[in-house]
């Protein structure tokens, strides 16, 4: 299913032979082509890269890219990507998946990726629902719960037939609380901005999270392209993305959501580098014989 890529990488070179199984109009198409563009812009060698995903419509993405891919189980993108990067710091490692995969079943892994800060780019295709299982509520659903101070009629999902009463979590606010070193939001109907954000995220040294609104016209029909357009705004030029409190304040407004790079900084230790230092310190001088000798009965 994969193709060998030439030395110059155009966006097309990243396209695999497998046709996406997504529904017509699915936002994930936009994410895929923005990713192609970003990879090309960053000159990532497709033979030296891996895309790791969980389970969901969005998690089928790796198969559509002509590179190495790891389509795993539901919610385990980050541990797998972290182990891979630790073992192979030479590779470009990209994690992808859905909002259910990343913030519900896999949500417990995020703060720890933040702590370790490996050089991994994590792209969440956030359609505010569970697509593959056909339309249940997700932790980011009911967006927005409150509109201009007015409580909106709660949305009904297959598992909340009388209206959802649970609040949604804000992936950006929590990312800032965990001090993830690159935090951005994109929208799959703003392809150029999205490709640019992806490219910045890939270039960022450390863990980066890009939450992308990626509409699901099949199971979340109300939340169309227009719905998201009217509820998002570009991060203002004046915003200083290294100011953590300002980034937090920018993200917690529930009327409208910022698009762009919201928070980032470069001064956080990175577990991959630290481990490399450690190995370098020992300079591969491990000797099993000496190790055993340390246990010699005296």
């Amino acid at each position: 299913m994969s193709t060998t890529a030439p030395v110059q990488f155009t966006p097309k070179d990243y396209k695999s032979d497998l046709a996406p199984i997504w529904c017509p109009g699915c936002g994930d198409f936009g994410v895929l082509s923005a990713l192609f563009k970003a990879l090309s812009a960053c000159g990532v060698d497709p033979t030296k890269m891996v895309i790791v995903s969980g389970i969901g419509c969005s998690s089928r993405l790796p198969g559509f890219v002509a590179t190495y891919g790891f389509h795993s189980v539901h919610g385990r993108v980050l541990p797998i990507a972290t182990g891979l990067k630790a073992a192979r710091p030479d590779l470009t490692v990209i994690g992808v998946g859905g909002d259910g995969d990343g913030y519900s079943i896999g949500g417990g892994h995020l703060p720890h990726a933040a702590r370790r800060n490996p050089d991994i780019t994590y792209l969440v295709m956030n359609n505010n629902t569970y697509g593959l299982t056909k339309g249940q509520v997700s932790p980011t659903s009911i967006l927005p719960l409150v509109s201009s101070g007015q409580k909106m009629d709660p949305k009904r999902w297959k598992t909340t037939p009388y209206g959802t009463t649970e609040d949604s979590i804000d992936p950006i606010a929590q990312a800032i609380a965990w001090d993830i070193s690159f935090v951005a939001r994109g929208f799959s109907y703003k392809p150029n901005q999205l490709a640019d954000i992806f490219a910045q995220a890939i270039r960022h040294k450390g863990f980066s999270l890009v939450d992308t609104f990626s509409p699901c016209p099949t199971f979340n029909q109300e939340q169309t392209e227009d719905f998201y357009k009217s509820r998002t705004f570009d991060v203002p030029e004046t915003h200083d993305p290294t100011d953590r409190s300002a980034a937090f304040a920018l993200s917690i407004n529930r009327d409208s959501y910022p698009l762009g790079v919201i928070y980032k900084h470069d001064d956080k230790p990175n577990i991959i580098d630290e481990q490399a230092h450690l190995r370098a310190r020992f300079d591969d001088q491990g000797s099993l014989k000496e190790l055993l000798a340390r246990f010699a009965a005296k």
Partner: protein
């Protein structure tokens, strides 16, 4: 390897120390281990751990023998009781005619003519020793200076078993050096005080001799967990992801310290699910990977073990079994996770299950585990047990020059390209595996059923072929190496009774078998190192020469017995128990005798 009939029962000494946890009981045991090992003796220890974090009663049993030691010993020759509670809880296994050394400052044991008692006013003596140096140390130091209670006990005990005091003097000099000359002197004096106190009571009675073997000093003193780590390192381990859990945590702690020098990484994960996930990622990247846990963690790993089986990702999962279901008896031993290791998967994907049998053996089992994972591209579960994992033993250092490292099958240049088949259907079932970075080897691995390219496919035909290919690897393993994974002892020809066992019962079953052979019975013992796939051929070869068969294991329902019933047609009797205690060799001997005599 059946052996010659033993001609004499080897002599050995079993010591048991009981007392309050945190009050030196364990330290005393550890020091004895070090001193005896220094004499060239072999050591086998067994401890109980209290439920409390600190405090509670502990027991430290230590068997020392001039030659291979297979078990901690069923009955003790010398019991050291530092308090009454310990004496009550753990004082019951002193052999008739044995020796009791008790802390006479703490309690007086009831009179019992079947043993010889030695009273040691340990606190009084220790305080007096401290008083002697009172004016030589600063007031501040004096306040924090404990009376040398342990050292008094050590001296008494060494004298009791006729061990030389010089190595202990040297040891005390070394350990207390940085506390100053006065403290060293206090301890050496305390050592002799203890020895003298006992010597006066011994008179001309005969007490045990631990002896010494000056020719026999190439031993190492290790725990099973440490040996496991060194085996994995020997086989090329490069990544470890883990989450703390008793009694497996030591593995991660050891590797965190040692693996970097061997070019590897250790990450403490946020839970066992992440730990295994990290290993799968690292292994996909091409490096041998391992995690280690105990029952509760193994439970959480089930989903991803299945992914590894289905997507054919090499990985080693160590399960250091502990007692009880759920949180159960976390500091006790058991062989209760065989079922979960063998069957723990929804639907079915291949896996290998190995079991380690002793502190020495676990090194080689770890070597095999890493090698088999790489060779057959599947998860390997290595069953260890609390009883061997946390025990310090003297063992000969493993012959590391005999370690061979198996590498994953790599694609040939010709296989690579746009049509690279990661899951090529081969006669052995093993397919060449590309790792990221190889041009022309690109593929997406997936837990969804897939064709040879790795593309998701749902047709009955593909599903059948793909599954057959994966399971064929297990047939290949048995055909290529099945016979290597059983060990036999005892009589070589037809026997009255054959015992089948696995894991850490090896030592006690061997001891029981040896004793019965010594007593004139025809008996043999087959020990399984590979549980899944089950090496049926060598088991059957063993079974045909046994008139009767007994399956022995340390779990509630007889899990190995069940697994043998699923896979073979043998008839056998089953002996199993699971209450936190390991078997003694007499437990096994009694059961064997019951069958032999009915």
């Amino acid at each position: 390897m059946p052996q010659k009939k033993p001609t004499a029962r080897p002599t050995d000494v079993v010591l048991r120390i009981v007392g309050e946890s945190g009050e030196g009981t364990v330290t005393l045991g550890d020091v004895l281990v070090e001193l005896f090992t220094g004499l060239g003796l072999d050591i086998y220890t067994f401890q109980t751990f209290p439920a409390e974090i600190k405090g509670g009663t502990v027991m430290y049993q230590l068997r020392t023998k001039s030659g291979v030691t297979l078990s901690p010993g069923d009955v003790s020759d010398v019991l050291v009781a530092l308090n009454n509670q310990g004496f009550g809880l753990f004082g019951d296994n002193l052999r008739s005619g044995g020796i009791l050394l008790y802390n006479s400052d703490a309690f007086s044991p009831p009179v019992d003519s079947t043993r010889t008692d030695y009273a040691l006013p340990i606190t009084t003596l220790a305080r007096a020793e401290k008083d002697k140096v009172r004016h030589e140390v600063s007031g501040e130091q004096l306040k924090r200076l404990p009376a040398p209670v342990n050292t008094v006990g050590l001296g008494a005990l060494l004298r009791l078993v006729n061990a030389p005091l010089e190595p202990a003097e040297e040891y005390l000099g070394r350990v207390f050096a940085r506390k100053g000359e006065a403290i060293v002197r206090m301890n050496i004096s305390a050592l002799h005080t203890g020895a003298t106190c006992v010597a006066e009571q011994i008179g001309d009675r005969e007490t045990p001799h631990v002896g010494a073997r000056p020719d026999h000093r190439d031993r190492i003193m290790v725990t099973g967990n440490q040996m496991l780590c060194m085996g994995a390192i020997a086989a090329g381990l490069k990544f470890f992801g883990g989450y703390p859990i008793t009694p497996a945590s030591e593995i991660m702690e050891f590797l965190a310290k040692e693996l970097p020098a061997f070019g590897g990484n250790v990450i403490q994960a946020e839970d066992e699910i992440a730990a295994l996930g990290m290993c799968l990622g690292a292994s996909f990247g091409g490096v041998p990977s391992m995690t280690a846990t105990s029952g509760p963690g193994l439970s959480l790993m089930v989903e991803q073990i299945n992914l590894a089986g289905q997507a054919e990702i090499p990985v080693v999962i160590v399960d250091v079994q502990r007692g009880g279901a759920s949180t159960g008896l976390p500091t006790k031993t058991s062989q209760g996770d065989l079922n979960l290791a063998v069957y723990g998967v929804h639907n079915e994907s291949p896996r290998i299950v190995l079991a380690a049998s002793s502190v020495g053996d676990v090194f080689w089992t770890a070597v095999e585990a890493v090698n088999l994972a790489e060779a057959y591209q599947c998860p390997v579960i290595l069953l260890s047990e609390q009883a061997l994992a946390t025990r310090r033993s003297t063992v000969p250092p493993p012959a590391i020059e005999r370690v061979t490292v198996t590498e994953r099958l790599k694609p040939a240049e010709a296989d690579l390209g746009p049509d690279f088949k990661r899951y090529l259907d081969t006669p052995s079932g093993v397919s060449p595996m590309a790792v990221p970075g190889i041009p022309g080897g690109m593929y997406t691995t997936t837990g969804i059923e897939h064709n040879e390219f790795g593309d998701p496919t749902y047709t009955p035909d593909t599903a059948t072929k793909a599954r057959n290919k994966r399971f064929r690897k297990m047939d290949t393993l048995l055909a290529e190496r099945g016979h290597e994974f059983v060990r036999t002892w005892g009589d070589a020809g037809r026997v009255e009774l054959g015992v089948i066992a696995f894991g850490a019962t090896e030592g006690v079953v061997r001891e029981a078998t040896e004793r019965l052979r010594y007593a004139g019975h025809l008996v043999a013992h087959l020990h399984l190192r590979l549980i899944r796939p089950l090496p049926v051929a060598p088991i059957n070869e063993f079974a045909v020469r046994c008139k009767r068969l007994l399956v022995v294991e340390l779990n509630y329902s007889g899990q190995l017995a069940g697994w043998l019933r699923v896979n073979t047609d043998m008839t056998f009797e089953a002996f199993h128990r699971d209450d936190g205690r390991p078997f003694s060799s007499h437990d096994i001997e009694d059961e064997m005798l019951r069958i032999l005599s009915d």
